[in-house]
Amino acid sequence: MSNIFKNRKTRNVHKLLCLMLPTLLLVGCVNTAAYREPITRFQEASAVVIEGVRVECGLANKRERNAEIDRLVARREKIYTRYSDDKEMLLFKEEKCIFSGKALAARMNALDALDKHGRLLLALASSDAPTKAKDAANLLGDAVKGLASSLEGEKNSAFKNTSEGFMKIAAEVIELVLNGDIRQALDRAVILSEGDVLVLSNLIKEDMIRLYERQRVVLNDPRVSAITEYNDEVEKPNPSIERLQKLASEIKKTEDTWDSLPLTVGATQSAFDAMDQAHRQLACYAKSSKNPQDLEGLTEAIDTFITRAKVVADAIKTIRGVKE
């Protein structure tokens, strides 16, 4: 008799669980579902802006090299080559570059860590989170290890502290994911990263400002050379109209390049401001009770970020279309 009673009780408990489980799952899904769209849009916009910075950092040394060659041409000076420690022929000393090999590697790895962080949030917010989340957290961990190794020996590097912050996030998220707590993992990933994303964003913005100021000077010298050539021809007793037209085309080219200066650099700074604001709103949402009204500020900030990221995307297309 007691066995029958026990079995009936067990069946009732099972029935209750079967009724409750979908509800529990649904509640969990609703919370990450509300996150999903803003995080998807945040990650897409972040990827574009990060790519903009990669392009600018990648071009910085090339622009210095080209400017140095143009300077020597304008001054009618020789190019002297040298033999490097790596057994390569170099045109100029490394001091002529904006970024040393190490500095460039540190920046690319920091951008990679930021990118992987965005992808981790996306993986945590997606519908098949448990499968992808652990892999995404491991990828972030790998990206951070890459950053840390590129900063070896750099005692005071401003990028160093952010690598430690991201490492903690990866470790904590992996643990929460393994325990099956995806919603908590997502909240924690957003909240823990708030400080590091802001610090990294400020470092990158400062880099962009410095590159912009440098570009002002680098792009102005060809303008002077083109104008000087033109004026030299004008001063001749019988200036050639054909030559003047050719030189005028050169002036127009240098002016076009000058006009495109604010494109990526200026657009990237503005996009990072919007990224900061969007991430701050994400963190506010992560800390909130996640009512529909909590989502409003987040949606607005993400919309602004998307708009500014589009400007960066257009600028990248223009730069890739222009011969450097």
């Binding site: 001054r75 500095a103 000077v217 010298d221």
Partner: protein, 110 residues
């Protein structure tokens, strides 16, 4: 003055020099002098962008204050084209101070 403001100020002065350079023939002696000055400031600016700089020291603050004054003097003289010699002297002062800032500064590893 911050590191970025210093980089920007040097850029502003280089552009002023460039405007002056455009007015002179390539073989003009003042043009050649301005070309050399421009190259020197360009090198200093690149060093500051590449290395960063510790902007909080007393020496840095003193030098940048002097730099602001020299820049104001440069603005006054650049409005009068006939004051070329005076302008060149002011620019030379500017380059000298920038050189002191860059050569004696503590680099910030970035």
């Amino acid at each position: 003055m911050t590191n970025i403001e210093l980089i920007r100020l040097i850029g502003d002065v280089i552009i002023k020099i460039d405007v002056r350079r455009c007015m002179l023939d390539r073989e003009n002696k003042d043009r050649k002098l301005l070309d050399d000055i421009r190259d020197e400031l360009d090198t200093y600016q690149r060093k500051l962008v590449r290395n960063g700089i510790e902007a909080g020291t007393e020496r840095f603050k003193e030098h940048t204050e002097s730099l602001k004054q020299v820049n104001e003097e440069l603005d006054r003289t650049s409005k009068e084209i006939k004051k070329t010699a005076q302008q060149l002297e002011t620019i030379a002062k500017f380059v000298d101070i920038v050189g002191k800032i860059v050569e004696t500064a503590i680099p910030v590893l970035v």
